[in-house]
């Protein structure tokens, strides 16, 4: 059967998300349109409360939209989840402490019901990919925070998902480790060719990693701008010192502040965003 080539891995159309609570309604997301092509690396960035994590969770079918539709590989998000199209990485590694590193990575494969020999092969390949082959039989508590997060990336990649969702995966790591992990993620992304949706607070991280940066604003959560990152690959430590890198960082920062470099007025409330920035929500 010839599979039709889908131009989009992720298609978010007219999506809104409203939370009802005792205190009233909170509009987390409003009128979100986003299309992500195969192999793209897309970062969602914005201050706290802009709904970037909610958008990620909507894409992953961990929560349902109250308006609009989310389509993954041409299927409803729920079907994509049931087909195991996703890999997911959280801010904390969320490893099972009673399982060794290799058993943690094998977990999604066990859930899928893969035979032991297939599992072992996949686990080995995936651990080699994140360069933790030597730690297969260690327990999570024996590893550093950065290594634990690499295990959780390996676990997310074990099923060779067509889309990898990462929710502030390096937010808990120190700056040095974070930069190293960024290079690591870039390498893994290039090696696997998977599509990545990456939520972050960090402007440099978003610019360094992404093909596109989606800038969001809060109350209600909206997409303010989408910025193409045209830095050449592979990006290295030299990239971090290049003029273009700083230009793009400035561009993302200005977009977060609600200023447009092309002179048009910003959408969304500038005042509320400035307030959020004053609260120090953006790193």
């Amino acid at each position: 059967m010839s599979e039709q080539q889908r131009p989009e891995v992720v298609s978010v159309r007219g999506v809104g998300k409203t939370f009802e609570s005792a205190g009233g309604r909170t509009i987390a997301l409003e009128d979100i349109d986003l299309a992500i092509a195969p192999g793209e690396f897309v970062s969602l960035i914005g201050p706290s409360g802009c709904g970037k994590s909610t958008l990620l969770r909507l894409i992953g079918d961990l929560t349902a939209p109250t308006a609009g539709s989310v389509t993954i590989n041409g299927k409803p998000a729920r079907q994509a989840r049931l087909d195991r199209d996703y890999g997911i990485v959280f801010q904390a590694p969320v490893l099972f402490d009673w399982r060794t590193v290799q058993a943690n990575v094998a977990l999604p494969l066990e859930v899928k019901g893969l035979a032991r020999s297939d599992r072992e092969q996949r686990v080995k390949a995936t651990l080699d990919l994140v360069e933790l082959g030597d730690f297969a039989r260690h327990y999570p508590y024996q590893l550093s925070g950065g290594m634990q997060q690499r295990v959780s990336i390996a676990r997310a990649l074990a099923l060779e998902p067509s889309i990898l969702l990462m929710d502030e995966p390096f937010g808990a790591l120190d700056e040095m480790t974070r930069e190293r992990m960024n290079s690591e993620v870039q390498r893994i992304w290039q090696q696997t060719g998977t599509t990545v949706v990456f939520v972050t607070h960090s402007i440099p991280e978003a610019v360094f990693l992404s093909s596109r940066v989606v800038v969001m604003s809060p109350r209600p959560g909206r997409i303010v701008r989408v910025i193409d990152i045209d830095l050449p690959r592979p990006r290295t430590d030299d990239t971090r010192e290049s003029a273009r890198y700083f230009e793009l960082i400035t561009e993302v920062r200005e977009a977060l502040r609600g200023r447009r470099t092309d002179g048009r007025p910003p959408s969304g409330s500038v005042a509320s965003m400035e307030r959020t920035l004053a609260e120090g929500a953006v790193g």
């Binding site: 904390a92 969320v94 099972f96 009673w98 730690f135 039989r137 260690h138 327990y139 024996q142």
Partner: protein, 307 residues
């Protein structure tokens, strides 16, 4: 492949089970010696006078300076009197010593308690598993389960004996009645202990409830479960003893021994103390059995050796 290479490098905080057991035994010994010192110390200060043979073989009387009723020979027999009673025949003209009799009684009671423990643990596990999947069931039944534990077991045991007989079944029910509750409560807490993101992770790879239960909830609950099983292990012995002590109850077991020796207390207080000692040792044995199981089941986790 070095299976446990990590333990050599960063595993220093993980005490080995053998070391943990050795340390536990050492502490227990220290405690027992301290208890004996306090016991005989109290008798030396405030107990009844006693005779002993001095270095020349002359019989001498020791008179403690004070008189404490709590340290009298009737309240608190000498340790060596209890030891003598253990070696002596359980009753006149019987070959069986008190120690032999109590070992037999402890085995009999231990069997009932073990059965009650198993029944209670399985019931507790099943209830917790049901409640974690149905908030409605939890809300409907939990109040009654809590209420059930406010009824004194002494009041309930005769009713159970009446309904199920004085034999093994009735006693096992009393023992399980005391054991299922801590298991239910702790296991429910354990089954709900996983990080919400761990549940989302399972969801993201389309895991069924069944898979989530066995691969996430159950393993995550084990530390909670073992904490409860340790409570339940000793409670099951209390339950079995109370069950045996029913009016017209069991002819055997520690419960019967305790009741009999209670009646004979004035003539031989050390017999009751010996029976209490046997019950305590049985409790310790149960506790240690669960502890060993715990050390094995949680051997790969950090902090498993603590607690």
């Amino acid at each position: 492949m070095t299976a446990r290479s990590g333990f050599a490098t960063r595993g220093a905080q993980l005490a080995s089970p053998a070391r943990s057991i050795a340390r536990g035994a050492g502490l227990a010994l220290v405690f027992i010696v301290a208890l004996l010192i306090v016991w005989e110390g109290a008798k030396a200060i405030g107990g009844d006078p006693w005779r002993f043979k001095d270095a020349n073989g002359n019989e001498t009387v020791y008179r403690p300076p004070l008189t404490w009723p709590i340290a009298s020979d009737l309240s608190l027999p000498h340790v060596w009197k209890i030891a003598e009673a253990l070696a002596a025949p359980v009753q006149r003209q019987q070959a069986q010593s008190l120690a032999q009799y109590l070992v037999g009684a402890a085995i009999y009671t231990g069997r009932e308690a073990a059965l009650g423990f198993l029944v209670g643990a399985v019931l507790g596990l099943a209830l917790a598993a049901g409640f974690v999947h149905s908030k409605l069931a939890e809300r409907a039944f939990m109040p009654y389960i809590v209420a059930s534990q406010t009824i004194p077991i002494l009041a309930l045991a005769p009713l159970i004996a009446f309904a199920f007989g004085n034999g093994l079944v009735g006693i096992v029910i009393v023992a399980s009645y005391l054991t299922f509750f801590p298991v239910t409560v702790a296991q429910l807490r354990g089954l709900t202990s996983p990080d919400p993101r761990a549940l989302e992770l399972m969801r993201s790879c389309a895991a069924s409830r069944w898979t989530i239960f066995w691969k996430l909830r159950m393993p995550a609950s084990l530390p909670y479960l073992f904490a409860a099983l340790k409570v339940a292990a000793t409670a099951s012995i209390v339950g079995a003893i109370v069950g045996e002590g029913n009016p017209g109850g069991s002819q055997f077991g520690l419960g019967r021994a305790i009741l009999n020796f209670n009646e004979q207390y004035i003539t031989g207080p050390e017999k009751l103390w010996a029976a209490i000692l046997a019950a305590a040792l049985l409790g310790v044995a149960f506790f240690l059995a669960v502890r060993l199981l715990e050390l094995y089941a949680l051997r790969s986790r950090p902090n498993a050796a603590i607690g």
